[in-house]
Structure formats: structure tokens, C-alpha cells
């Protein structure tokens, strides 16, 4: 779109590109480098850029502690569960909003979307005694239910704007052929909407995987802890100065989402922004 051919425009491009690239990527490199430095090279005022002696000791320590693996497992269960539940609920709701007309449709949609202005912590305050009453504090299920809060409203809207763009003629043709409503949704609409489903799933998985607030409050049992609070409680407090260990733990706990993203990022940018810009 812009022409970057002359040396002047190349210079201007570089003048914007280099600072922002440095801002985005240097911290990540620093995390990786710190994690393979021996302690003696970490605690210096003017650090070396490249470690003179690399070590994997931080990673060895991490896995010999063992709780990292447990926390990763807990995060996978709760974030995965929350994402699956959110996608299922949001899919039916969004399809209903997009392709059916009934009384109260608009007000209900408005209500669900306006939930994005409810402060998370306020819902948590009253959800806490509810989960306590139901015996769901310190359970995976309780946390999974709480994770609906994070992405159900926005996920429903993303899917809604995707479904709206699927031509109604396809659905009507299937109806004329005598196909049931659920058959139409499951066999005809959903296969078309796969990128959107993946996006919403990934989006809510990310929210849940990144969560600190809910997990910190609803889970107090160490063996049920997820990675967010796990990292925080392990490395801040008791051994605040183990920066090499903290960076190694950070990298390991980021890997699952990074790998997931590497495969699905193409869908993600499309799907995430479909509702906000187009339609």
C-alpha cells in the first residue's frame, strides 16, 4: 500500500520499525537469555548480553520441584474446560440471535453484551459464597464455571457476527428439504463456522489460561493451583531473588499457549476482528 523504494522512505520505515520491534521482542529475548544464565551472571549491575557460560540448571530445578507439572495440568483442565463450555454455550446463543426472530431477542442480546461492563471482581464477590454453598470452592469445576464470565459475552458477539454473514438461503433450502433445526445447525452451519469456533475457543482459553484473579481467590489448595497463581506464589515471596528460575518457569508455562497459537493464529486474527470491523 505504501511505497518503500527510495532510501528516504526506507529510512523512515526503519525509524519506526526498529524501536517498536525492539520494544516488542527484546523483553522476550531477555527472558530466554536470563533463563539460561548461571546465577553469577544474573546478579550483576551491568549484565552481559550473551551468557558466557550457558546452563540448563534452572530448567532442571524447575522440573525436579514437580509442582510445575501439576500446575500446568490444572491450567489445561480448567482453561480447556472453560473454553469448551464457553464455545458450546456461545454457539447456540449466537446462532439463535443471528438466525431466529422472537420476542425479547434484542433486549436479551443487549443484556448479554452489556455484561462486558460488569467489573470481574464484583461478580467474583458474590460468586464466591455461591460456589462455597455448592461445595465448589477448591474444585476444577468451580473454576471452570467462573471462567464463563470472562468470554461468554464477547464470544457470543464474535460468533453472532460470523453467523449473520452466513447466507440464510442455505438454511432455508435445508428446511425446505425437511432437515431439522439441530441437523441444520450441526451439519450445515457449524462446518462453515469452524474458523470462528476455533477463534472463540482459543480466545476464551487464553483468558482463562492468563487468569490470576479467579484462580487466586477460588483455589487455595496447592495441588489444585493453576500456573498464574502458582508462579506468583512460588517466586514472589519465599525466594524473590531467583530470577533465573522465575524466567525458566515463565517460559515453560507459556509454551502450551504459544504452541497452540502457532498453529491457529491465522484463524485467530480473521475471526477476532470479523465482528469489530466488518459486518
Amino acid at each position: 500500500m505504501l511505497k518503500i523504494l527510495s532510501w528516504q522512505s526506507r529510512l523512515i520505515f526503519a525509524a519506526f520499525f526498529i524501536p517498536i520491534a525492539a520494544f516488542l521482542f527484546l523483553p522476550l529475548m531477555w527472558m530466554a537469555l536470563t533463563s539460561i544464565k548461571p546465577e553469577a551472571e544474573i546478579f550483576v549491575r551491568i549484565p552481559t548480553l550473551w551468557p558466557s557460560a550457558t546452563t540448563l540448571q534452572n530448567y532442571v530445578n524447575l522440573f525436579s520441584r514437580g509442582d510445575m507439572v501439576v500446575q500446568l495440568k490444572n491450567s489445561l483442565i480448567t482453561a480447556g474446560g472453560g473454553a469448551i463450555l464457553t464455545v458450546i454455550l456461545a454457539t447456540y446463543a449466537a446462532y439463535s440471535f443471528a438466525k431466529f426472530r422472537y420476542r425479547g431477542r434484542k433486549p436479551l442480546m443487549f443484556l448479554m453484551l452489556s455484561a462486558q461492563m460488569f467489573p470481574f471482581a464484583m461478580m467474583l464477590i458474590s460468586l464466591y459464597p455461591m460456589l462455597q454453598w455448592a461445595g465448589l470452592l477448591n474444585t476444577h469445576l468451580g473454576l471452570i464455571l467462573a471462567y464463563i464470565i470472562l468470554a461468554l459475552p464477547s464470544g457470543t458477539y464474535m460468533l453472532y457476527s460470523y453467523f449473520v454473514n452466513i447466507p440464510t438461503e442455505i438454511i432455508e433450502a435445508a428446511r425446505a428439504d425437511g432437515a431439522g433445526e439441530l441437523y441444520i445447525l450441526h451439519r450445515i452451519v457449524l462446518p462453515l463456522a469452524m474458523p470462528a469456533l476455533v477463534t472463540v475457543g482459543l480466545y476464551s482459553f487464553m483468558w482463562a489460561w492468563n487468569d490470576l484473579l479467579f484462580s487466586l481467590t477460588l483455589i487455595t489448595q496447592p495441588d489444585l493451583r493453576t500456573v498464574g497463581p502458582g508462579l506468583l506464589l512460588n517466586y514472589i515471596g519465599e525466594s524473590r531473588s531467583d530470577w533465573g528460575g522465575a524466567m525458566a518457569a515463565s517460559i515453560v508455562s507459556s509454551l502450551p499457549v504459544v504452541i497452540g497459537f502457532a498453529f491457529l493464529q491465522r484463524f485467530f486474527i480473521q475471526g477476532l476482528t470479523a465482528g469489530a470491523v466488518k459486518s
Binding site: 447456540y92 422472537y102 461492563m117 467474583l124 492468563n210
Partner: protein, 302 residues
């Protein structure tokens, strides 16, 4: 449910189809009511009660919580902290996200990889981001101080997170870092709609890159800019994790936003009435951008 009146308006859809439509919504509606709407309404109610850890039952006190928090000078400080944080973070993220999206829209070797990699800051768990930031901003061994000292920009190391202004700056920069990818994604999608005919026409009219940007690209992005700003403000108003993990709201109350205050009142002081009253102030603040957002969405729908 009286569907007969409705049938006249949408003759194409039979009554049982409408019923199916509503039934499809039911599971989400139940979940929504149970974990979002009901807890929220309960908390609104609780803001009119005194309910601390030593009490068995909440006790109705009317608007006492509000008159107390609204006369405390600390509340204004927290509200202003929130405002500074939201405005600064959203602006910083907006500028970098837009610039980065424009560059990621150019074709160059390795663009696909750089584009994908620039989502990383957003993908990392918030605690990880907070750790990384705390390590970079570390007053004694942090790399930022080392760079600033080596280049002669400062003479003495700055203890970022231990100083009021330093901590606020660090939190703002960190939150901007992790939100740039999201803003970039929105702008990139907006850029897909720029017509190359218009760009060519502007070039024929003698426009250089700057002119193309100013007269074609940026006007086209205007709706995206509005949405991104509003969504960014909403997200930054909700932000808790990264702030809490970096500073716990300190030093003193320098980085205590409404989100952090509600959490602390509720789950550290176990004073639910006060927490919910602060929460109402927070809710009203988030409502401002959200109302604009909803108006745009529903206008678009017609």
C-alpha cells in the same frame, strides 16, 4: 409466549422455528444468569449493606458505604490512578498498534513470521509478563537501568517499582506491551478493506506516502480507531492481573486502581460492603465507554 402477533411481522418463520430459536438460547441464558447476572445484582445489593468478616449476616446501612468512600480522599486518588492508567495505556497502545499494523501490512521478506511472533506479548500468561517486567525494571540488576546507565541517560539507577511515579510508568508500559498485538490485529483487519483503486487514484493525484496515509488510509480506519479505543479503554479499566502481580497496588497506593482496591477490600480485608460500593464506582466508570460501544454495535445492526 404470545407468538401470534409476531408471526405477522416475520411470516417466513413458523412458530415452532421461533420456539427452537429461543430454546437454543436457553443454556447460555441459564449460565449467564447464574454466573454473571445474578452475582452482579447480588453485589450491587451488597453495596448497601455492612458485611465484614466478623459478621454472620449482612446488615442494611443504606448509602453509608457510599457516603464513606466518596468522602475519603483515598477514593479520589484511586479513581485518578485508574484514569491516568487507562488514558496513558490506551494512547500508547493505540499509537504503537497502529504504526505496527501499517508496517505489518507492507509486504517484506519474513512478514508472516514477524506478524505471528508479534502476537507473543499478548499470548503470554499475565503472571509471566508481570515477572518479566519486574525483572527488567528491577532497581538493582534490571537490564533497563543497565542500558540507561551505559548510554548515560541516567547517572544513578532508578528503583522503578519502589517509587510512586516509576511504578505507575512501569505498569503502564507493561500493559501497553501486552496489548499492542491485539490493537495491531484489529487495525490489520481494518486495513484489509482499503481499496487499492483509491490508493492508486491518490498517487495519480500526486500524493506521496504521507498523502496516501492522510487522505485514504487513515480516514478508512476511522471506524476501527473508535472501536479499538473503546475496547481498549474497557479492557484497561478491567485490568487487574498484571497490576496486582507487578506491584500489588503499591508502593503505598500509587498503582492501586479500582480493580485492585475492590480485590483488596473484598479478599484481603473481607469487607464486602465497602468492596461492592467501590465496585459500583468502578462499574459506572466502565459504563461510559461501554455505552458508546453498544450504541455503535446496535446502530450497525439497524
Amino acid at each position: 409466549m404470545p407468538v401470534t402477533r409476531h408471526r405477522l411481522r416475520t411470516p417466513g418463520l413458523k412458530a415452532h422455528e421461533r420456539r427452537t430459536g429461543f430454546l437454543l438460547l436457553v443454556p447460555a441464558l441459564i449460565a449467564f444468569s447464574a454466573v454473571i447476572l445474578w452475582p452482579f445484582l447480588q453485589s450491587l445489593k451488597l453495596s448497601l449493606y455492612k458485611f465484614t468478616i466478623d459478621m454472620e449476616q449482612p446488615q442494611f446501612v443504606g448509602l453509608q458505604n457510599f457516603s464513606r468512600i466518596l468522602t475519603e480522599p483515598g477514593t479520589l486518588t484511586i479513581w485518578l490512578n485508574t484514569l491516568v492508567f487507562v488514558v496513558a495505556t490506551t494512547t500508547l497502545t493505540f499509537i504503537m498498534g497502529l504504526a505496527w499494523a501499517l508496517m505489518m501490512n507492507q509486504s517484506f521478506k519474513g512478514r508472516g513470521f514477524v506478524r505471528a511472533a508479534s502476537l507473543l506479548p499478548w499470548v503470554l500468561p499475565t503472571t509471566v509478563t508481570a515477572f518479566l517486567a519486574a525483572w527488567i525494571f528491577n532497581g538493582q540488576y534490571g537490564v533497563l537501568n543497565a542500558v540507561l546507565l551505559q548510554t548515560g541517560m541516567i547517572a544513578e539507577p532508578i528503583t522503578w517499582l519502589a517509587e510512586q511515579k516509576g511504578a505507575m510508568a512501569a505498569v503502564i508500559i507493561t500493559k501497553a506491551w501486552l496489548s499492542v498485538p491485539l490493537f495491531m490485529a484489529f487495525f490489520l483487519a481494518g486495513l484489509q478493506g482499503v481499496s487499492s483503486d483509491q490508493v492508486d487514484a491518490a498517487r495519480v493525484d500526486g500524493c506521496e506516502n504521507a498523502g496516501v496515509l492522510r487522505y485514504v488510509v487513515l480516514p478508512h480506519l476511522a471506524p476501527t480507531m473508535i472501536i479499538v479505543t473503546i475496547l481498549g479503554a474497557m479492557g484497561n479499566l478491567q485490568a487487574f492481573d498484571v497490576i496486582y502481580a507487578m506491584t500489588q497496588g503499591g508502593p503505598i497506593k500509587a498503582t492501586t486502581m479500582l480493580s485492585v482496591e475492590v480485590y483488596k477490600q473484598a479478599f484481603q480485608s473481607w469487607d464486602m460492603g465497602t468492596a461492592c460500593a467501590v465496585g459500583v464506582v468502578w462499574f459506572v466508570t466502565i459504563a461510559v465507554p461501554t455505552v458508546f460501544y453498544l450504541r455503535i454495535l446496535f446502530k450497525r445492526e439497524g
